[in-house]
Subunit: 379 residues, 2 copies
Amino acid sequence: MYIAGWGHTPFGKLDDSLENLIVRAAREALAGAGLDPGDVDAIFLGQFNSGIHPLGFPSSLALQISDDLFGRPATRVENACASGSAAVHQGVASLLAGTARTVLVIGAEKMSDAPADVVGAGLLGADYESAGSTSATGFAGLFAEVAKTYSERYGDCSDTLASIAAKSHHNALANPYAHLRRDFDEEFCRTVSARNPMVADPLRRTDCSPVSDGAAALVLTTATAAPVRFLGLAHANDFLPAPKRDPLAFAATTLAWQRALELAGVTHADLSLVELHDCFTIAELNLYEALGIAERGQGARVLAEGRLHRDGDLPVNPSGGLKSKGHPVAATGVSQHVLAAMQLTGTAGEMQVPDATIAAVHNTGGLAVANYASVLTGQ
Amino acid sequence: MYIAGWGHTPFGKLDDSLENLIVRAAREALAGAGLDPGDVDAIFLGQFNSGIHPLGFPSSLALQISDDLFGRPATRVENACASGSAAVHQGVASLLAGTARTVLVIGAEKMSDAPADVVGAGLLGADYESAGSTSATGFAGLFAEVAKTYSERYGDCSDTLASIAAKSHHNALANPYAHLRRDFDEEFCRTVSARNPMVADPLRRTDCSPVSDGAAALVLTTATAAPVRFLGLAHANDFLPAPKRDPLAFAATTLAWQRALELAGVTHADLSLVELHDCFTIAELNLYEALGIAERGQGARVLAEGRLHRDGDLPVNPSGGLKSKGHPVAATGVSQHVLAAMQLTGTAGEMQVPDATIAAVHNTGGLAVANYASVLTGQ
């Protein structure tokens, strides 16, 4: 199964409506694929929403692209912050099922119209224990607990988190779609200040992805001449209640990642780059280990060796990741696939990883509850 | 593709949580299929929610059935009031894709915990023009406009709507899962009274489906020995903005219905029964015509002939339909498939249509915006 085209709006606080974001990204993807809207057999829209946007039935917004889309099957899929990859994976399933030859996949979120407390409550709606309650720190508070557990097990990780934040910000300078394009260095990220306040101890503002608007789109196809090919995909869910999960294990993330690599027949040594789900810097640190890029407790060492920077042997989040690119919830998973496709076709501009041949994408919803991995190659 | 087992909670105002509803229906479906939870390869959960329930990330609730479900891919799908069929159709796609041999499909909604204004706003979230606004009459107001347009085009339909309501209530007496089991006759349904007030002129309370809790589940399989087989499925979306749709055309519903029948190689003469989406009596009347059971403007005549009653030649909604069975939004589409499976296996109890061999299901979201049809047979 293949990717024929892609589109990506800027991420950030945008004037566009949800509908405009969807239409913009999708039209760009279709144009890139050299296809007309009428060529689309099926549409999958990833959207989280969770009360943040009043329209609770967005699937047919994608039909606003063109009147030629009348009658096409359109389905919204949701898996919290992995809703974008949920749409990608359902799109691939349609191709495999033989019910579609051309699938339009869109991930989109419009968050900046809602008051901060509504956004906070919506995001907490992805947590089994916190849904419906009020929390001043929201999901940052949940990942702060992950950071505390990490520090208890392996030693204080605050400086490592600052180092991850600085890498992310530096990478995002090269990403024209990124929400935050500021070259905050390690010293800035490490230091609690008026411009970098503590959000939920030990997570500072620079440890957290921002609330963003945005959309990304892919045209998936069975046509073998397309520029990017899926080598492997996997999806694994974990239990929702926190007591049923070790906070650092990310066990179902590991399962999805290993299965996707196995299906693709590749190892980490074969990967040119990874786009992974760094909603918080502690997520990125813990993912180095859950994905097997580093041994448990050794993430800081691998990072310090420079291997995961854009000029390292396994660049992680050369786009700036969720942390600096922004995290319009359901757009994220599709965006990760778009950025991988750009890298694999040598069209990633200043983000380009030289000679990128194989890329892996990791996207997760909740505290590693819904987990997706894709391995892609250029051709 | 086949149905191996099914489960169905009562519909109504229930004490169960959303999680309990999901677990109850799914366990019953697995037991009926003679399978263990660990046999499940993938899970699809239909849920509308739209701000009615605080948990915005329900897919992994299905893993609460058993610890053996760790790592299984679980995906929530949403297409407003057709979210249940969305889950069924995605489940079938997984089987066709070869990525699963056994799929657990669940539709569930917990509505009675939310205040009436939250439920009303959530349901209006399925309408492009009304989402985010307040309306005293909600979706009933939208379907009241359909009824007015119908009466303008074809003559006053109020008595026909009362006749449909009476048929529905009579049928639901035989349905142990039904929310409303009261034998309201045509006279009662026709007459505006303290017990049957006008909700949105010309729709009386007996013209409207109730707000319900409930869940239904199916086990889908590639195993050919299963008791029920899919003969055809189709899904077609229409545009969201009302000005882009004729209010009576239900054009994409017609498209989905005709395509499913064509794929199944059957005509209406082959159908033993139909379960269709009667969220309001005017929806059922207009669907007689949009589906081609009656010519345009002739729905009342076909109904009056008795052909659509349980002892007619094409019983419509022998379960009582959404109107009397209840309408826990995303449970509905799965419930319709469950009831069809019961009919086709001769296990529908007092609801049983004699010698039922082929059944068709129609489920729609919004004002005929997201439309699904399935044709099933016993074997």
